[in-house]
């Protein structure tokens, strides 16, 4: 059980949300946005997270959108992972998020919550980084749509009181060839030892990683290496290993050395599946 007291707000519009946030903030208290609430509940239960107030975004209409609008797919931040998979509107994203947690949890876990997770994995971000998704953010009276890549660096860097409303994906990026490979300790339900997602766009492989470093990432340098057809694939993979943005994670899911071993194999599979040469 959660032993500390906290206020609960469930606003029904962006304006009310901002108002609730400011109200809490003005009293010198901490407010936290939630949508599915799975992380909040599980972390608060063990005192790993504390807040004076939670603001539930499930009541905000913009956060519950899941549809094609003109040439864009719009996904509200409070849409559950299962809804995304079942809608089949974006099979690459659907396949990637289906590897997160278990079915029952995915009924609750939302894409906004997963992107803003306290954990290092945030696997739903991988396809979004690769398809140059935009995010619609709200703060005060302002709403802005920006490239995800411009605000995501290790985590979604929002300013205080800023709220993720929607994710917007250009329809031209929805049907690209893709692969999403996740390796776990043993059970399919578990955090990634290594999770790699990749697409082929304009004959160029784009690739993003989770479970490798302490944050999910996509790297220009790595993409240049994997696309360098002058070098044999195994050598390209060796070069990738030398150019990871930081040291490989070493934790209960897998040792650093083991993760490196798995990553090399997964990259081989990705390159083979996407026919990236010998």
């Amino acid at each position: 059980m959660i032993s500390f007291d906290f206020k609960y707000f469930k606003p029904s519009s962006v304006a009310e949300t901002i108002e609730a946030y400011n109200g809490v903030h003005e009293q010198g208290e901490k407010a936290l946005f939630i949508s599915g609430g799975t992380e909040f509940i599980t972390f608060a239960r063990t005192n790993k997270i504390y807040t004076d107030a939670i603001i539930d975004s499930k009541g905000i209409p913009e956060c519950n959108v899941l549809e094609m609008r003109d040439d864009n797919l719009v996904i509200g931040a409070a849409v559950s992972l299962n809804k995304i998979t079942n809608s089949n509107l974006f099979p690459f994203l659907g396949a990637t998020v289906k590897q997160i947690a278990d079915h029952t949890s995915r009924n609750k876990i939302t894409i906004g919550g997963n992107i803003n997770s306290e954990l290092i994995y945030k696997e739903s971000i991988l396809p979004l980084l690769l398809v140059d998704a935009k995010v619609k953010l709200a703060k005060g009276n302002d709403e802005r749509a920006v490239l995800l890549n411009s605000v995501f660096n290790r985590k979604l860097n929002l300013s205080s009181g800023e709220l993720l409303l929607q994710i917007i994906i250009d329809s031209s990026n929805i049907d690209l060839p893709y692969i999403s490979l996740k390796r776990t300790k043993f059970s399919k339900v578990g955090y990634p030892v290594v999770s790699v997602a990749a697409i082929l766009k304009d004959n160029r492989l784009r690739v993003a990683f989770s479970g490798v470093c302490g944050y999910p990432f996509r790297s220009d340098k790595i993409e240049n290496i994997v696309n360098d057809s002058t070098i044999p694939v195994v050598n390209r993979i060796d070069q990738v290993m030398d150019n990871l943005p930081s040291s490989i994670v070493d934790d209960l899911q897998g040792s650093r050395e083991y993760r490196a071993f798995v990553l090399k194999n997964v990259l081989l599979d990705v390159m083979e599946e996407m026919e990236m040469g010998e």
Binding site: R183, K185, L252, Y258
Partner: protein, 781 residues
């Protein structure tokens, strides 16, 4: 041995708790709430081994709603089921991470929890004993300074002064040294695995009150209601008749709810608030580390054999990591010794089984009671030895399989009735796993399919006076209520007992009402619902109760029908004349006595009483192990086929096979599911489960985010179960116990299949792709 003349025995009757459970309407202990109910929460040790310098409760007392705070020095005594070595609340020192240090009682659960965060405990760290191997070394730090001075509750426990040995069980059969020296081929191998958890779906929970008349009323999710009474009587000096224990349906136990931990704590909590009703419910994290878990295990096995493959000598050294207290690990130490060889006839046996204190969470019984562990060690050795001898591993097992006329390691004599037929089980498993199609097949690029097999056996090491009773009473419509203290914990025992009664009375299952709740005040005494013993013990009690009722039914009917009771038969809700079944009387007309048209009534209601107590069991001799530890041995065989990716060591389990000789199978459907569930559990800890400790003895994964286990849907793709039914003449309708058996061979057959697939001897569990990779890396250095 299907007997088609049986009415319901041998038929796949639906479980009597199926509807309630599948509609989510069962109320478990934790679901209960009431006005005025108080809540207890524990302050737990953050250290694995440390002196308690002080416990400062000043700030905690200031928290709202706090009614009582109990610390260890308020009850500075030791309790335990076998050796009394565990204080309910730590005093003077803590011995494991998560150990209860203080109890807070408050009006609301959140208040109690908040107050626990305000208790300041000052520790002085002590050196950590972080493995059974380390504990065994000379000059290892001592977990208990005076283990030899603890009170023995059961005779077969031998703590050794100034060591970490909580018990040492010896088997000395024949002359091992001579046989070993004369062996034509030998093997010595070592094995290990770490502690893990039961992870029952329902976390442990209890509530206790002391009413103004002095009655202590306990509601709990326990496998041992009468042991709760015993413990509260023995250690808290309450008259046993003043302790009332209620057990509703239990949400999974697997042995973990056999021990008594929460009830004494909740009793102390209730006592501190004037006897008010207090609830103590463990969070998942507490259920994993504060509550007892499963043993860790280290083994060295030496086998000596003739060239022809006949085993002549076996030596077994088992180090059981019991954690901070012996609890049931002391019993497991004994159980692992008395079945140390696996189901093989070995004339010269030497076994030293040690229960080792460490600074890990303490271990208790877990489905299999040491047998999955010893079977892993023995069956891996058998495979390696078969390879040395170049004998087919199945043939090697058949050559050495134990049979009637042979003796067990404790020199108990086996007969056609007390041991199943191992060879039949092996041959059936061989067919099901398609052994003859090859044990190792290349199945694709970097893919290999291999098969591994394991035999297993186990006896039920109950107390020598373990017993059960049953009472049956009748309704006015002729239907029957069955009361018995067997606990329904998901294993389906109440359905099985209902079937036994229905069979005896020749009555439909829907006329049998089995009371789900157990109440020690009106249910006859039953030892405990553990050790796969309930079908046998309680089943026999039900048979006797039914016979008792039948005799009464016939007596009344004989008066009504004007004949001798010997002329009568009971069945179909009637008592009738054997030669003319149309001439009879309905049970409903005599169940509560027979009333003549005149109004005169005779005989009164039918009350059937039955009981059964173990026969001819003995303790074990301290020097040789000689004794008769259990009523029968069930034997079986398990096999898996796996597919391994030889490049990255990921693998999947394609087929799982279990063949068990459980005597007569009362309900083939529940028995099949029990084997499947067991094998799944065994595969889960063989592939995934273990506690990870840091160098300070702290558990790093005491939560379900990080404790790895198989999930629903990850069972083998093909899941085959079959039974050999060599009847046990003294079991109910020929049944033996089967509850634990599905789990026993699973780790061994998985390790055997993976050892073949990888070409490496894999002798440590769990077998994750990482651990196999690690083994490969170490092997190539």
């Amino acid at each position: 041995m299907a007997n088609t003349s049986w009415y319901t025995v041998g038929k796949p009757e639906q479980r009597i708790d199926a509807v309630e459970k599948s509609t989510g309407k069962v109320r478990y202990i934790g679901d209960y709430s009431a006005p005025g109910l108080m809540h207890a929460k524990l302050v737990k040790s953050t250290q694995a081994h440390a002196k308690i310098i002080s416990v400062d409760t000043t700030e905690a007392w200031k928290m709202p709603g706090v009614r009582a705070i109990i610390t260890g020095e308020m009850f500075p005594y030791h309790i335990g089921p076998i050796l009394a070595d565990r204080p309910p609340l730590a005093f003077e020192k803590v011995r494991y991470y998560g150990e209860p240090v203080a109890i807070i009682v408050a009006d609301h659960e959140y208040q109690a929890k908040r107050a626990t965060e305000k208790v300041k405990v000052e520790y002085e760290p002590l050196p950590i004993v972080n493995s059974a191997q380390q504990a065994f070394q000379k000059n290892a730090p001592l977990v208990h300074e005076n283990a030899a001075q603890y009170t023995k509750i059961i005779s077969d426990v031998y703590p050794k002064a100034s060591t970490n040995i909580g018990s040492h069980i010896k088997i000395r059969k024949g002359d091992f040294d001579v046989a070993w020296a004369n062996s034509e081929e030998t093997i010595t191998a070592t094995y290990s695995f770490n502690l893990s958890d039961h992870v029952a779906m329902e976390t442990r929970s209890t509530r206790v009150e002391i009413n103004p008349a002095g009655k202590v009323i306990v509601h709990s999710c326990s496998q041992s209601p009468f042991t709760i009474k015993k413990v509260l009587n023995q250690f808290f000096n309450i008259d046993v008749g003043n302790i009332l224990v209620h057990i509703p349906m239990v949400g999974g136990a697997f042995g973990g709810k056999g021990t008594v931990q929460l009830e004494p704590l909740a009793y102390l909590a209730s006592k501190a608030v004037g006897g008010k009703l207090v609830k103590l419910e463990f969070d998942r994290e507490e259920d994993m580390t504060t509550a007892p878990c499963r043993i860790g295990f280290d083994a060295t096995v030496q086998l000596g054999v003739t060239k022809e493959g006949k085993l002549v000598a076996g030596k077994y050294t088992y180090l059981i990591d019991s954690g901070a207290y012996t609890d049931q690990a002391a019993g497991i130490t004994r159980a692992a010794a008395l079945d140390c060889t696996g189901p093989y006839n070995i004339p010269n046996v030497w076994c030293d089984s040690y229960c080792m204190y460490t600074n890990h969470p303490f271990a208790t019984s877990f489905r299999g009671y040491g047998h999955p562990e010893l079977t892993f060690a023995v069956e891996r050795t058998m495979d390696q030895l078969a390879e040395k001898l170049q004998i087919d591993p199945l043939q090697f097992r058949i050559i050495n399989g134990i049979k009637p006329g042979d003796t067990t390691p404790t020199q108990a004599v086996l007969t056609a009735n007390n041991i199943g037929d191992l060879e039949k089980c092996i041959n059936r498993a061989k067919e099901l796993i398609k052994w003859d199609e090859g044990q190792c097949i290349k199945s694709g690029k970097n893919k290999v399919r291999t098969k591994g097999i394991s035999t297993f056996w186990k006896t039920s090491t109950t107390a020598t006076n373990a017993q059960a009773g049953a009472i049956i009473i009748f309704e006015a419509d002729g239907s029957v209520n069955l009361n018995c203290a067997a606990i329904e914990l998901g294993q389906g025992t109440k359905t099985i007992l209902g079937q036994i009664l229905a069979e005896k009375l020749g009555m439909d299952m829907n006329k049998i009402h089995v009371t789900m709740e157990v109440n020690t005040q009106y249910d006859p005494h039953q030892w405990r619902t553990v050790a796969s013993s309930t079908t046998f013990l309680a089943g026999r009690a039900v048979v006797f109760a039914a016979d008792h009722a039948i005799a009464q039914l016939k007596k009344t009917a004989a008066v009504v029908l004007q004949c001798s009771p010997d002329d009568l038969e009971v069945g179909g809700g009637r008592v009738y004349i054997k030669p003319d079944p149309t001439f009879g009387v309905d049970i409903k007309d005599i169940a509560l006595g027979y009333t003549y048209p005149s109004g005169h009534s005779i005989e009164g209601q039918i009350v059937g009483i039955g009981k059964h107590i173990q026969r001819h069991l003995t303790p074990m001799d301290q020097q040789t192990g000689f004794g008769k530890p259990g009523p029968w041995w069930s034997v079986g065989v398990q096999a898996v086929e796996i597919e391994l990716d030889t490049r990255d060591f990921t693998y999947s389990i394609l087929t799982g096979v279990t063949v068990l000789d459980g005597g007569t199978i009362i309900n083939p459907m529940t028995a099949t599911q029990q084997m499947r569930g067991g094998m799944y559990m065994g595969l889960s800890y063989a592939t995934s489960e273990k506690f990870v400790f840091d160098e300070h003895g702290i558990v790093k994964n005491s939560n379900l985010r990080e404790y790895p286990m198989l999930r629903y849907g990850e069972q083998p793709t093909e899941y085959l179960v079959d039974f050999i039914e060599s009847p046990a003449i003294d079991g109910p309708f020929g049944a033996r116990g089967i509850g634990e058996y599905g789990v026993i061979g699973a780790p061994a057959c998985l390790a055997n299949s993976l050892s073949i697939a990888t070409g490496m001897e894999l002798n440590k569990l769990p077998l994750t792709p990482e651990s196999i990779w690690q083994r490969k890396v170490e092997g190539t250095i």
